[in-house]
Amino acid sequence: MKRLHKILLTAGLGVLTMGSLQADLLQDAAAADVKKVCDVQANGLDKVLATAAMYNAEAVKLGIEFKRLGVTNSNYVKTTTEAAKAKKKEVVLEYKKKGKVKKQKLATDYAAWRACSFAIRALQQKAEAESTWRLAVPGDGYKY
Amino acid sequence: MRIKAKSKGGVTTAKVMAKHPMMSYAEAEKKGKKANFITYVIAKVGDETVYEASTSQFLSKNPYLKFAFKGDHKGKEITITWSDLSGKSKTDSKKIK
């Protein structure tokens, strides 16, 4: 019985820590100044991409990653990281549209900024929506 | 072919939708296929021709035609035939309501 209690307690604590870790990333993103954190000139390409990867992983887990003109943010993160490693000045993103492969060319620095800002903004919006969503509901916060 | 035909107030109206790719010359060239479209449509009630048209690539895919002719033909059959550029033709009939 005591053992069962112990197991339950540790499991409970484990769940709590996991939960708070997740909440941490969301809170971090919500508080982050995107322009500062994703600035490639100030922080360097590698750091910005690492930030992007970390936050985007969270966005993907929550199901809220951005997809812009056929390119998902995971695509931005992955392809730009590869291009940065190969010291390329330009990133070529491939995506499928109606079965055909299409290409989007971006400067590596810009692509990194994009990957980072997309990742953080997705999380920021989720946090913001918690307090703003009711304002659009007729019969609730929406006044007309 | 989907056919709907109804007689009302001495006039019979028929609506026909043919199944055909109606590929124009321009589209055929782009896709590397052969152009083919309906070139002729004729509708008959009994021996009487009630509608006849020469058509061309200006009609869209699965063309929809609507026409009316005089007379109360309730209970009779309307028979519609189309032929296309490749020489193929199709005939379908439906009872007029």
């Binding site: 199901g63 809220i64 990653e65 951005f66 997809k67 812009r68 998902t72 943010n73 995971s74 997309f118 903004r121 997705a122 919006q125 989720k126 913001e128 929506a129 703003t132 969503w133 009711r134 659009a136 509901v137 007729p138 019969g139 609730d140 929406y142 007309y144 | 989907r2 709907k4 609506k15 026909v16 939708m17 699965n62 929809y64 609507k66």
Partner: protein, 303 residues
Amino acid sequence: MLLKVVKISALVAITACTLNAGSFNTQAEKDRQALVTYMEAKFKDADKNRAFFPYSSDDELKNNFPKNIKEKDFALGSYAFNSRGKSQYDDIKEMPPYEDAIDAGEELYGKKFANGKSFKECFPKTDIAGNYPYFDDKKAAVVTLTAAINDCLVANGEKKWNEKKGKLAKLQAYFSFQSQEAGKKLDIKIDSQAAADAYERGKKEYYSQRGYLKLSCATCHVQGAGQRVRAEYMSPLLGQVTHFPVFRLKWNSLGTLERRMNGCNKDQGENPHKPKSKWMKELLYFMAYMSNGMAVDGPDIRK
């Protein structure tokens, strides 16, 4: 005396319980009524209520918007308030392009699986389109018609179908048409706390902004209903799900509600949520309740 008190309190307790049992949809009903009130107020006289239509032209407000649009009229979507579009829609309805799909759906319904059974076992009645989505208390999850069809296939050893188009859409067209012919209405039930919670989650997702363009579903289909994106009118949430599966002229083919929802996600700038995800199912549950009581009028044509 004591016995009498006990009997009365027992009776009161039982009555309270039964009354409560029907109250899980109270909030949902309030929400739905509020939506109807809003839509009817907004479209009562578009020309007079210009505050709702800041970017619309004089001409369209005066000449294109009919007046006094009522709850059931909204089932036509944007055609309810776009007279010019409506006349084009009426023309196409003379010989709708989805009729073949209904026939194909009927065939699929009766076609036997490898194990000798068919959809008839899973769906003994065909006029059931208005009963979905529903909340399955045992599974503790929302069941959409799309999911139910695929569950039937899997249970009978068949492969799942594409949830957005093709065979599944055709079978849905048949169910929808049968429901329409039988005069069925949307009959969405919220019968438990878990169901009410699922509804609330769906509602929250509907009104939360998302994606690169930071749009919520409501931005376009509640506040934006009746406004235009370039030349296209945005349809209202009220009556939005009654006419699916839809033959969309843009696709030139039939698609399920999930197919359209994916398109909406992309329009918002977010990676589309999968049709079988909890997110999608709960959102559709909410959306369906918003049109609860309206007639099933699928399949239909839209741009």
